[in-house]
Each structure stands twice: as structure tokens, then as C-alpha cells.
């Protein structure tokens, strides 16, 4: 079942990438990133199973922690952005235009 797990992981990851590339809403893009992280977690777990070692699961714990931290900061940024621009549409936010 390892191969299948990796297959699902790849599909989920790709869906996340497509979401990031096609959506405009900062929140949705955020969630797509979370989906990508989950896809990677699935790979970790599958490979952990394959090697019969718990290290992969340890890694998943760390990834989740980072994801939680990222979500907290990211959402705070989204709130700040919304307060400043009145929108979370990334198309309208380009203060750093070169």
C-alpha cells in the first residue's frame, strides 16, 4: 500500500500547487499550502511504515507544529492586510512592484 500512499500524496500535492497558482484569495492559497503540507505528511507516514521506523512520524509532528505556527502568523498577516487594504485578493496587493 506504500506505492498507493505515495500516489495519493503526489496527487494531493499537485492539487495544492494548482490551487496556489489559480486562486486569488489569500486565505484559500493558505489552505492550499496546508494541503501540500498534508500531502507531504502522507509521504512521511508511508515511508515511515516502509522503513519500519518511527522517525517519519516524528517528522510529521514537527511539520504539524510548524504548520500551526505558520497558520497563526499567516492568519495574523491576513488580518493585518485586510485591515490595511480592505481585501485579501492578492491581485490588489502589490506594494513591492519593482
Amino acid at each position: 500500500m506504500i506505492a498507493e500512499a505515495l500516489f495519493f500524496s503526489a496527487i494531493l500535492f499537485t492539487i495544492g500547487v494548482v490551487g496556489v497558482l489559480t486562486r486569488r484569495n489569500a486565505l484559500i492559497i493558505f489552505m492550499c499550502v496546508e494541503l501540500m503540507l498534508n500531502a507531504v505528511n502522507l509521504s512521511f507516514v508511508a515511508l515511515s511504515k516502509m522503513h519500519g521506523a518511527a522517525l517519519g512520524q516524528v517528522f510529521v509532528v514537527f511539520v504539524m507544529t510548524v504548520a500551526a505556527a505558520e497558520a497563526a502568523v499567516g492568519l495574523a498577516i491576513v488580518i493585518a492586510v485586510y485591515r490595511h487594504f480592505g481585501t485579501v485578493e492578492l491581485q490588489n496587493i502589490n506594494l513591492l512592484r519593482g
Partner: protein, 170 residues
């Protein structure tokens, strides 16, 4: 490996992928978030089937239970439920994204087939001690990294508070 196991594995996998597809195509952020929660539940099931019961548990608790709730909370806080602007980018961009998706999927699948993947059977008997191996690694070999994640979380909390705080005009 029992047929039942295989059926269940494919079932949860397909649920996860389908939910993800729904998630990414929903215009309404609330609906999208809920579809993502569904994906995560399916993933939790897959974790359990891959003998990672502890990860499956915290997947439900932390991801589906905490992180996604915060997302929903923000969506509702900012009142993003109804939006008039088209949330999807232009068809050209979507076509490009499709191309990227095809190439990336191909690459990832090539990568996942790069090494020989041995078939590992799931444990026949229900496992009783599933947390201990993870905890042993986490609290011995990776103790420093584990402790640093606590600092990371602290920083994230402080940062979130500072960022989201209403700026007082000087």
C-alpha cells in the same frame, strides 16, 4: 493483506483526493475550508491504516480541530463568505497551472517509483504501543529540536498578537 484493507485504503484515498478537488474548486471560502477538513479526516484514516495511529490522532486534533477552525474563524471574522470578485484567475493562467500540474505529477510519480518499494504488510494484530516509538525518538534523539519547536510556537504566538493587534496611531 486483506481485500477489506485494500478497499478501505482506496476508499479513503479517493475521498481525500475528491475532497481536495472540491476544496480547490469552491468559490466560497467557507465551503472550501470544510472540504479541506474532509480531506484531513480522510488522511487521518490513511495514517491509522499505515500504523501511525498517533499521527492520525493529532491530525484530527491539531489540523482538523485547531488549525482549520482558526481558518474558518478568520474567514467568518473578515466576513469573506460572499465575494463578488471572481476568485479564479484568468483562463490562460488556469491552462498554465494545468500544464504545471501535469508536469509536476509526472515528475513526482517518476520520483516515487525511483526506488524499489517493498510491500509491507500492515500489522495483523491490533497494536497496543503506538505512541512509545514516536515518543522515544522525540524525547531522546530529537529533544533539542522538540524544545526549539516550543520556542517557535512562542514566537509565532507573540508575532501573531503583534501583527493582528490594532495599530495605535502615534
Amino acid at each position: 493483506m486483506s481485500l477489506l484493507y485494500q478497499v478501505h485504503f482506496y476508499l479513503f484515498g479517493i475521498i481525500a483526493v475528491a475532497s481536495a478537488l472540491f476544496f480547490v474548486t469552491r468559490k466560497n471560502p467557507v465551503a472550501a475550508a470544510l472540504w479541506l477538513v474532509n480531506t484531513m479526516f480522510a488522511l487521518a484514516a490513511l495514517y491509522v491504516m499505515l500504523d501511525a495511529q498517533f499521527v492520525g490522532a493529532i491530525q484530527v486534533l491539531v489540523y482538523a480541530g485547531a488549525i482549520m477552525v482558526v481558518f474558518l474563524f478568520v474567514v467568518m471574522l473578515l466576513n469573506l463568505g460572499q465575494t463578488d470578485a471572481p476568485d479564479f484567475r484568468t483562463p490562460g493562467v488556469r491552462l498554465g497551472a494545468a500544464a504545471v500540474a501535469v508536469v509536476m505529477l509526472a515528475e513526482l510519480l517518476v520520483l516515487s517509483r525511483a526506488g524499489r518499494i517493498p510491500e509491507v504488510a500492515p500489522s495483523a494484530t491490533p497494536q497496543t504501543n503506538v505512541v512509545a516509538p514516536v515518543a522515544e525518538l522525540l524525547f531522546t534523539e530529537h529533544l533539542l529540536a522538540f524544545e526549539i519547536t516550543s520556542v517557535l510556537l512562542l514566537v509565532a504566538v507573540v508575532g501573531a498578537v503583534v501583527l493582528a493587534k490594532r495599530q495605535r496611531r502615534a
